[in-house]
Subunit: 642 residues, 2 copies
Amino acid sequence: MKRNVYLKMMPLDQAREKFLSCLDWIALAGSETIPTSEALGRVTAKVVLARYSSPSYHAAAMDGIAVNAQDTYGATQEHPLTLELERQAFWVNTGNPLPAGCNAVIMVEQVHQPGEGLAEIRAAAFPWQHVRRVGEDIVSQELMFGHHHRLGPADVAALLTSGVFEVEVLRRPKVAIIPTGFELVDWREAREKQPGPGAIMETNSLFLASLVAQAGGEPVVLDKVTDDFEAIKAAVEGALATDAHMVMLNAGASAGSKDYSAHVIADLGEVLVHGITVIPGKPSILGRAQGKAVVGSPGYPVSSWVCFDQFIAPALAAMQGQAAPQRETVQAVPARRLPSKLGREEFLRVHLGRVGEQVVATPLKRGAGAITSLTRADGLLRIPADSEGLEEGVPAEAELLGPRDRLENTLVVVGSHDVTLDLLGDHLKRLDPRLHLSSSHLGSLAGIMAIKGGRCHLGGTHLLDPETGEYNVSYLQRYLKGVPVRLVTLAMRQQGLLVKPGNPKGITALADLGREDVVLVNRQAGSGTRVLLDYELKKMGLDPANIRGYDQEEYTHMAVAVQVLAGGADVGLGILAAAKALGLEFIPVMEERYDLCIPQEYWDDHRVVALRQVLASPEFRRQVDALGGYDVSPMGTIAWEG
Amino acid sequence: MKRNVYLKMMPLDQAREKFLSCLDWIALAGSETIPTSEALGRVTAKVVLARYSSPSYHAAAMDGIAVNAQDTYGATQEHPLTLELERQAFWVNTGNPLPAGCNAVIMVEQVHQPGEGLAEIRAAAFPWQHVRRVGEDIVSQELMFGHHHRLGPADVAALLTSGVFEVEVLRRPKVAIIPTGFELVDWREAREKQPGPGAIMETNSLFLASLVAQAGGEPVVLDKVTDDFEAIKAAVEGALATDAHMVMLNAGASAGSKDYSAHVIADLGEVLVHGITVIPGKPSILGRAQGKAVVGSPGYPVSSWVCFDQFIAPALAAMQGQAAPQRETVQAVPARRLPSKLGREEFLRVHLGRVGEQVVATPLKRGAGAITSLTRADGLLRIPADSEGLEEGVPAEAELLGPRDRLENTLVVVGSHDVTLDLLGDHLKRLDPRLHLSSSHLGSLAGIMAIKGGRCHLGGTHLLDPETGEYNVSYLQRYLKGVPVRLVTLAMRQQGLLVKPGNPKGITALADLGREDVVLVNRQAGSGTRVLLDYELKKMGLDPANIRGYDQEEYTHMAVAVQVLAGGADVGLGILAAAKALGLEFIPVMEERYDLCIPQEYWDDHRVVALRQVLASPEFRRQVDALGGYDVSPMGTIAWEG
């Protein structure tokens, strides 16, 4: 394998501009006439004029008597006036037409009936009082909506009212999606068993189809095609021959030996852009063929999303006569330094939440393959191509992926990972649907430093002091001098050795880590579990240099468990919950205290108040207890204050 | 007809609270298990855990060679290292599993091939470099989503990736809608001809159905029922027996002799609230029966909308485990004094646009029957029940009905009405889809006063100076002292007498207005057309007191034309466009100059720049010319500056 093709990179804005100006999108979309009753959410293709006026007759706007105002002049509280029914006054219900000669309605509550056939009033009516006049709402022939108006519920009702029963709308942009790649396995074939190594479950087409649908388009997912120039070409030709406005090839967009997208598009039409100075999303292809758009999107889900978000979404909007969607922004401070590659604009997915005066941005996974970095993101930090990164604490503009008020309702948690935190987040949301817990699993010490820096509301911590054998307090005294905090116990939890089912290496205690045939997967430095391990190793005089795999670090209990299950290691130190989740065996080593460290400053913040409410709820306690490996009796007690 | 029943009014918030706490909405909704591929936009009914990890194997994240990092140590630019292919190094494509023993990938661009079977590298690899490790994205058994999470495109893809092919979601709230009223005509029966006086086209059910659909619910519109207790009761019972979660009766919600909704709901279950201190929307009924919600919404479309917006929408949200939708707000100054009834919270629909530093709120029609007050609204001003109204220029909180950036892109026009303004708005939007023209038709003088008060960007004006016979300038000199403006001509336009087809009264000139058998429909004082009429009447010595209908005032040309067509008057003064639109005859009286008065302050505002661009466009000029009754040759010229 050899590669001589390099992408000719183009900056993002330039690429978008080139793509958006390459076609007349409105003309490409075309129009169709549909029943107004089915037009909700559709976009007018031209000016719509009213056919009928509304009301079409002078109508009573109240229940009461219809009169001619002139007949009522002079009526007062002191000098009531009596009108003759069926001659000067006529009972009407709301909506009834005014009898000839009438031009006002007097409410039934203000009409007295002194005798048969008589109505007494105590105030004069003014002309057109309580009358809905002809054309008061809509006048026949008036312009109801201009071009490219997206019809909402009231619009649809107004059109019917104005006698417009059919409306010419822009066609929904239709996007044909072609998955390519020999390694792809349709997810429908993966129901029973996960595809083995080398096979990849094809989920991008549904992802892209969902994005198209959400953007008001109509997606059509075509059969997957293997990595073969002729096969892909035939698939694109077939798609171009349908009524689709755009064809998307997914994967094969790069310049590798098996990347055919660009060749196919060039063969059938024109490649306008291949390669964009953006990350993720670099190997996107923008082109056209036979008067339609043809796009090659990269194979990693986040790359593919950036390609959709930056190119496809604006094109779909243009086909609907709308401006490109724009996200709201907020100034946010990065929770830590974020180096980024010069010459690439990076789309970094972040948690966002207001902590004190600042909105803090905590980065999620940066890999283009991490779909969870999108599902968990509250926003995007875009690091410009000419920047080497963002500095910790220096405000930068973040784009919001959720509603703005989520910033005020997000509890920002940084620290040690524990599976109960996910459960805590779920309970918070059930308490109040607006609440949202964002948790960054960076280890106990990182959490304490984030508290010190004012970059989170609280942190989970289980740091053993090797001198005293006490948990957490001495660390807070050392690192959080001058920051008043409360230490609230979440639970006592077991730490133990995770080993494969059946314990093939016969591991029974920490001492086995020194064996030649045993490989460890470790936790990262600064994590409570690592401190615990180092403490125990030191106590027993076992030198880390003599432990195989000691340098192999993972950031969560679950990741440690996965390594053991997958055979990357024989043993890891972790919690029972992680072992149970993956069916590993668990050899208890000790019990530790897992606390939440909460600055007093945020103690009465509505998010923290809600969290304390969850800690006090029997249902939450019951669920944590059911996980196993926890002693929940001290849950919610204040272990220390300072 | 007599009425003894009065509504027992309840404040809005109290009514909503009472309704929302009357049912366990989540339990009412219930759940169902559906394919994940169809779950876009649906809401999780419970916690969802990952079944599969992703990646499920250590995968190459780049095209290149897979190696064991230890084998590469020591390689530098100066001292390249040669690895043996198929023993120490293995070609891999992105996504391939790492061969056993490998833990890093070196990019193809950094691999040289000095000879057959050899790979030369010039830098060491670090462990796990360019490798996507098992569980890097998703770890089996981790919590993917908690309760009541609305699934977006990435969420759906993430669920598939994690091996979750079916998901338990809350059922879509199903709402049965029953139109009631003997006067209703199905809109399907009104295709050919507008229903006659007394008959009302039933469009509310589609309006409500669209609102339900937009809120994520599933509407079912049932057959209309006439005003009869037993018939309505049978319809509600039938709807309650289906799987609908809520039944809505539309109209008949008040306390009149033919309003049966409350009686039916009381008979089948319980009326919780009947009557709310809100306008529009006062006679709403909130109830429950057989463990489901039953709502009676008022018949006027805006009343019905308020009922939906304030009660149904939050209930639908609660059935989806979501917080009630909240609109963004902005401080806006009312363009004029807005008196409001004490004891009623009024929902006033307004145009909103930023003019200089302020956001100005210009009220739309206040009638509950005016559906166009919703279709044209940019926002809502809510006037509290304990307020007698809002003061001109005093900031009040407005709720946004559109995106926030529309405030910056709305051209606020106040002044005389001309049909070309609608066309202008359409052209603006076609120039830039973000632009939006809001036009309040209050007459030329009101426009000038709005300019003086800084409450609009420009006004349309055609005010004749009776002293000089000149248009507009003397008025600006008088009323806009110290406000530098430019007067830009839109067009010369004909004003004439509008008469019924065939001119049955044989009207030929203004002098005919003095005839005993001729009834006029007039324009409001302050409008340019009214000034013109008064000028001509004075010239010919015709006393307004001798003109029948002189006091009958309308606010637009089209409304005048409708009055003539409907027989409310024999003649009106107006423009040719209005006559043509309704098929009236037009007797020219004179030509007048219609100008746009634009403060210099806004001359370079992007909205005004766009407007000037439209005035300069041949296409706009052509379309105005095609309307008839205009001389477009002076369009865009500056008539005066001061």
